[in-house]
Amino acid sequence: MADHDASLPSGMVAEPDIDALLQDAIDPALLDHSDTDENFSNEDVQRLTTAWTNEKQAPDLLPFADQLVGDLTEMVQNQAQMLDAIQEDNTAQAFTVMLYQSEIERIKYLLRSYLRTRLLKIEKHAMYYTSTEDYISRMSVNERNYAQRYRSLHEGHLRKSCLNKLPQAVQALDEMHGDIPMVPEPNLQSAVICRVVRDIGDFAVTESETVEMKKDNIFLVGYQAIRPLLAEGHVELL
């Protein structure tokens, strides 16, 4: 963005050249995420943000962002230690410490919300996930532990509270009710909204239907259809 006359009285912003600004504004991508600064930047936070939003919207459990969670947790620890070492003996330092702490809070929130979104999903389908190889491999070691224990707590409760008092033949937890399995499975057919991250070209959304997917297109589509694109990072869920 063009730099304008800098010597302005504080509180006043010069009316910039509208046309030049409008030119900039035509392409929203340019404004949305312009990584144009020459400063150091770390993509991990952005990556975890995407993992979090994807996890929130995907109907089933996605692979755990192991490396990201580990790295960012460590960076948060280091940054917090660094802040402890700073002596807030003047207001300028107290101010920068406040800024750093604000970012730490943001990242901690992101990590917390990401982990809890997953716990919630794991609890909802604990029985299914703990007995499906693909999903077991999507969980972290801690999550696997959690899922197992949660499942036995939950099933134990249902047994003690009622199932054990029923005739033996009807005590099972995993039978079918007509077409509906009693072990709930995530519905992979349900609709999601996704944004295309890079040009994909023609993509088959059903056996008979293809659609051209270009960067920044937004689609409402069945989750199952775009699952491979999501795994590759070619689309993100909104």
């Binding site: 730099d3 312009s34 952005q46 800024l99 297109n217």
Partner: protein, 205 residues
């Protein structure tokens, strides 16, 4: 049935606060080394691009002014409104988080935004015309896909419950019988209006 996942407004604003905005610092400050990247040095009055959350904090502590993005100006918003009117079947291009960014800026830096009252009114007008277009789009729901280019994240989040439900329903009906499509389009719009009332996000500019 399970509730459809949506984002809360604070969550959407949190996400939008990662967007970069232009700050005009009024105090000198060394480079800040954040986990997500470093910003600075801050040398008044040179402009600098920083994430919105940082700009908001600096503005709050009177360490600088925020230069509103080019799209947050009356002339630009007016053009966009005209564009919306000219093209009844598509949405004009705006940053995908325009609504959240505008909201945060109007809340924390209203005095930096020229003609802020008019800007608020125009955002509201823009929002309404886009909203009614989005509603009309429900008629196009089919069990395969629906393209929704240029809708903002807040807007998508608002229509999500109804659109996704309609999508899932048409899909189920299609799987069940062949004449399902007629039934589906005949019954959904009414339901849509009803549920939209409850999903309305209050962004009173």
């Amino acid at each position: 049935m399970t509730a459809l996942p949506t984002f809360t407004l604070p969550e959407l604003e949190f996400l939008a606060e990662d967007s970069l905005v232009t700050l005009i610092p009024t105090h000198r400050m060394d480079v800040l080394h954040f986990i997500s990247g470093s910003y600075g040095p801050f040398q008044p009055p040179s402009r600098i691009e920083v994430p919105l959350w940082l700009a908001r904090l600096l503005k709050k502590k009177r360490r600088g002014h925020i230069q509103p993005p080019a799209w947050l100006r009356c002339a630009y918003l007016e053009r966009k409104y005209e564009e919306e009117q000219r093209q009844p079947d598509r949405f004009s291009a705006l940053p995908s988080r325009y609504m959240e960014i505008a909201n945060v800026l109007l809340e924390c830096a209203e005095d930096d935004i020229p003609q802020s009252h008019t800007v608020k009114r125009m955002l509201q007008d823009l929002r309404e015309i886009r909203q009614s277009k989005a509603r009309a789009g429900l008629g196009a729901i089919n069990p395969i896909y629906l393209q929704m280019d240029n809708l903002g994240v807040v807007e998508l989040n608002e229509v999500r419950p109804v659109f996704c439900q309609a999508f899932n329903q048409t899909r189920r009906l299609e799987a069940g019988s062949n004449d399902a499509e007629a039934t589906a389009t005949g019954s959904t719009p009414g339901m849509y209006d009803e549920s939209l009332k409850h999903n309305q996000v209050d962004y009173g500019y």
